[in-house]
Amino acid sequence: MLTKRIIACLDMKDGRVVKGVQFQNLREAGDPAECAGEHARNGADEIVLLDITATSANRRTLLDSVRSTARTLFVPFTVGGGIRQLEDASAVFDAGADKIAINSAAVREPELIGKIAGRFGSQAVVVAIDAKRVERNYRVFVAGGRISTGRDAIQWAQETANCGAGEILLTSMDRDGTQSGFDCELVRAVAEAVSIPVIASGGAGSPRDFIEVFREGRADAALAASIFHFGIENISQLKRQLHDAHIPVRWPC
């Protein structure tokens, strides 16, 4: 039976892993290769590395980090941040990523999804969507959550799937870093609107939150960063609790 994935996310700034609350107030947590290896040993089903301050100036730093992280990592490895064109994606794949995540660039140029999928396969293209509740709807934000696009998050998710996205990484900006639980309503709305896997992100704080997002939110995978980095929730213990709650997970692993 296909299991629900627990994904550890490393937010990286200038080659170091950091984590903020609601995209701000960054705290440092370590070396990306070391963090990734530790998460994988603890049972993370997948690793995501997001360069949250990606600029052309530190592109070399990102590629170096990808290379050193990928070297001894044998679980799926997704990299995002600053990928604006096919060439950027190619360089990240060459450095050892299995999937790339694109966000702002996909909004600006939806054809980019198909271009990368055409060359590397849909399974290698994750479209990251940062969604925030605005009145009764969820709106898509870009540029690290700074700019509203006015787009509806559910419609945009469907559009990316039609363009060739292989998975959707859906972050609730309202919940990001708060450890107050995933936005199950948002996740479910997107998961029911697309056939590709949806990775829920933003708000993980306790095992109960994961159980809810898999049951109520219909998520295929759940991603968390801060709770894993600071040792609040051990991934292997989390998976045991999910297993005990009859959520299918890769455990023992």
Binding site: M1, L2, D45, F74, D94, Q123, A124, I196, P197, D220
Partner: protein, 196 residues
């Protein structure tokens, strides 16, 4: 030397990296002469079945079939495994190698497709490739089409229906999952292949 076939589809870095980690000498190539020189062949692949068209254009199909005749160990991964069958509903214009009978098909509408993530293996006794791999081991998949369960299937997984997770006959091996992305169990499978 292990030749990893590069037919222009997808990303071969992970496969190469995993074999290099195991200490194997690997070369990524699209040259039939290199395939002929290798003593083991890995045929990876992700994406659409139509990508396999490139095999016919540069003589790789012929060189791989020669390697099969010469009893060199061959490992097809994901789309590479599907090529070992007769073909796929995904692209009926492209023929597989028909080393194994049956055609690859889509998953039933009752389950999500693509099938992405970790799923468990039901392993048959006697597989050389899966030697030492415990029953119910989890491996990582990402695919939309699957091969039918046949007599040569050595492991199956379930997603809406049972499908072939691994297949082998003599020195021809195929896995639908990605051993290079399946943690320690995946590395153990690749190590088995290196030692066949």
């Amino acid at each position: 030397m292990i030749a990893i076939i590069d037919y222009g589809a997808g990303n071969l870095v992970s496969v190469k990296k995993a074999f290099a980690y195991l200490g194997a000498e690997v070369v990524v190539t699209n040259q039939p002469a290199m395939v002929a020189a290798a003593n083991r062949i890995v045929f990876p692949g992700v994406g659409h079945f139509s990508a396999l068209q490139a095999l016919d254009q540069n003589g790789l199909r012929e060189s791989m079939l020669q390697a099969v005749d010469a009893a060199k160990p061959i490992l097809g991964v994901c789309l590479g495994m599907q090529w070992l069958f007769e073909g796929s509903e995904e692209c009926s214009a492209i023929a597989g190698s028909a080393i194994f009978p049956g055609k690859c098909a889509q998953f039933p509408a009752s389950v999500k497709s693509p099938h992405v993530g970790w799923n468990s293996l039901a392993i048959q006794d006697g597989s050389r490739l899966l030697k030492g791999i415990p029953q119910n081991t989890f491996v990582y998949y990402t695919h939309s089409y699957h091969a039918p369960v046949i007599a040569a299937s050595t492991a199956t997984s379930e997603h809406g229906r049972q499908f072939t997770a691994a297949v082998e006959r003599e020195n021809v091996f195929g896995v639908q999952f990605h051993p290079e992305k399946s943690g320690g169990a995946g590395l153990a499978i690749l190590k088995n292949f290196c030692e066949i």
